[in-house]
Symmetry: C3
Subunit: 323 residues, 3 copies
């Protein structure tokens, strides 16, 4: 974010959620705790609330069928909000109407929260800088740079599995360079004080050295996951592999795919994570994905809970309630 | 369905609804009765219920604007459920993500009921075999093989028009071979004990002899509808006619279209049915479609009622209720 | 509308809203007053109501992301209705299913209100002539001929800004010939008795002389907005400019774009309107669009309120209420 912009209000509460960068660990823990309260046992009906009764959420995603959009939509419904789905990518609307005019129009229809996924860096902050005081902007994924609710759900999943963060070794494996998931996980886990964070990728998928400071960089997955408590696999973009030095999917799997044999190098009680959707047989083998150490489905459940927590938090911070 | 799979739970209640094959006539009658309770007079506001309050229904249809999807969506809304619409055809997602991963992901978001339409046989059962115990899978149409809620709404419409099934002669006319509507009607009506079921089609649209056992097969519509109490016309797929021996639509209409003159051969109080959308002037003339013997629009109303009945039944059978 | 069709019921209340043509000024004022009651201060949660509880609204728009559809959807939600969105243009469905069959089908599912946008003139009336007595048809924009809720929201915005209509000079600028916005504004403002209405357009965008009777026609925007109290700019269709005598967008802006310098010719307290989405730098400069005289965003807020008022009016007139 640029210098003079803050996603926090005067009370240090979230007004927007665009990045985890610079977020107070106490605030992150509060969101995780709140999310924990929205979870339930399998088979139980999910907890609901009226925190957003009377509020209107607009989901602005270019693609209608993403899991993140469904997750936000369910979170909003379960908190009593009205939900409006618009299949638009703001940054591609420049010809027809300016980005801000689209936002101003929806704001004039009394949209209270914008959940936005966009491929262009900076759009989220641009929108947040221009909306009215009572309006909140929440990222549903921004280019390669930020996916804060994913970072939070990853942290929640680790907390549930490991009881805390202090002594953990976390290994993130895959296309770190182009991954908003990796960046937000890095922000969250650094803030929460994990002992060691390792990023594992081939040369061309490694981020520039100015980023991920403090993380240990490994070319070899075998070395990198040695003794790790958490192994977080990233989704590989098939397009990206095709034109690169890593010539094909099989080769990638051989070099960087997580198999049961490899996982044995990690700590015996290590958990395996993946943001989905998975390319089975590429970055992760089915044996691992469906194995006892996988917490991949729990991540999805935590995703709805985290989005409920974020929405309830910003609604509470705005102090606007149905009479 | 394969040998070791049952869509019923231990109490003989529906857990899923994938096929009408093998369904107990008593259970079918119970669903028809329940649906009858969801009907109302034209102009009245439709009955509602809270049976699915707190439940989440995911509608997985490849095409967003089908009438069946709208029918399920309204049924869910009127029973108080939250509804999530996803424009996906599961069987075409294989490249991006495995079918089951899509399902597991939505299940982890606490989707309770999947309503699925798919072009590939077997997808419904595959999903039903893998979901958690409390999750229900309901067919919105499966390839050419099954469309159980359509079969039930057809049965309900006949029961309303004719008072019962025992002495009825029912004629189904059209592309029986490729029709899930015909197959599910056959299942329902056979279970409910119609006196005589006739299937009428040109050679290339007649099913293999292993199917529709007990039904009388006719090449001629004039002979086939003679004295029938119910004439059920099927929608013709224009694509299918183009390349076949039956060379064009006009020819098909001449050979198999239901006109007023032809309908006169049926019983004087016969009713005419069609699952929609109709090709007027092809399989059915407007004179008949809009005539006094047509119950086509009543089928649509019954469709919502049947879907409400099925949803309320599976919710009741699961025993999960909002506190 | 054709001779023997009326959108009013026997009590002179709106049953449908297809055009503002011939509407009683008292009825228009009543709708504006009702809409006023649905407005709130920025930051407040929008007023809601239960007037449409139990009602089902179907939004039939070819394009899912129009602002008018979002406006109707929010209006329906805030009045407690169930909303069904179908991405269809009725007039383009002729091949697959007749227009009326689509309508009859949805009506049989107990849709109570159809909100329809269509590119073909006459579709709205066709539908309204065929639906059941208790069903309402509301235009969301019909070809180039009518956009009644837009006309009402424009009138409401003017009333709020100017306190009334009697002494006003209103100038409409742009492609009047092809504009349903201009036609509906003309209807509303004529009925409400504005003192003077001016239409300003290049030759090829001027309507035939049989239309807009009583309006003053100007080729020059500079002359046309002289002393005006309201300047209503229309969106230019870029396609239309390309092939015409007015050769390009820059030329159009020079000839007909509203700049601050031009606006200075209007009354000092004149307000500027635009139906959106705006082509900034073409029909309107950003300086004006975002300037102190612009009421463009207020138009959007009024749009939701007007649609709520229209829906509540027709629901009240039908007298159907949840028990």
């Amino acid at each position: 974010m640029t210098q003079d912009f803050s996603q926090l209000d005067r009370n240090g509460r979230l007004r927007h959620l665009i990045t985890l960068d610079g977020l107070d660990p106490g605030l992150i823990r509060e969101l995780l705790d709140r999310a924990q309260g929205y979870l339930c046992l399998p088979g139980q009906l999910p907890p609901r609330g009226g925190d957003l009764r009377g509020w209107t959420i607009a989901n602005l995603f270019a693609e209608p069928s993403t899991r993140t959009r469904a997750s936000f939509e369910l979170a909003a419904l379960r908190l009593g909000a009205d939900s409006l789905n618009l299949d638009v990518m703001l940054s591609s609307r420049v010809k027809g109407e300016s980005i801000l005019d689209t936002i101003y129009t929806l704001q004039a229809m009394q949209v209270d929260v914008f959940v936005i996924r966009d491929a262009e860096p900076g759009i989220l902050e641009l929108v947040a800088r221009h909306v009215d005081d009572h309006v909140c902007v929440i990222s549903g994924g921004e280019a390669h740079i930020s996916h804060p609710t994913q970072g939070l759900l990853d942290a929640l999943t680790i907390q549930q599995s490991k009881g805390g963060f202090r002594d953990l070794v976390v290994a993130i494996v895959g296309d770190i360079r182009h991954s908003r998931v990796a960046r937000s996980a890095y922000r969250a886990l650094t803030a929460l004080g994990v002992a060691e964070l390792r990023i594992i990728a081939p040369e061309e998928m490694m981020p520039d050295t100015g980023e991920f400071t403090g993380a240990i960089r490994c070319r070899s997955i075998d070395a990198g996951i040695e003794g790790a408590d958490v192994v977080m696999m990233l989704r590989i973009q098939r397009e990206r592999i095709a034109g690169s030095a890593t010539t094909d999917l099989r080769h990638y799997h051989e070099q960087y795919g997580l198999t049961a044999a490899r996982l044995a190098r990690a700590d015996a009680s290590a958990v395996v994570m993946h943001p989905g959707p998975m390319n089975r047989g590429v970055e992760i083998s089915s044996e691992v994905a469906d194995g006892p150490q996988s917490v991949i489905r729990r991540q999805v459940s935590n995703g709805v809970a985290i989005r409920m927590a974020v929405l309830a938090h910003v609604a509470e911070a705005r102090g606007r309630r149905m009479p």
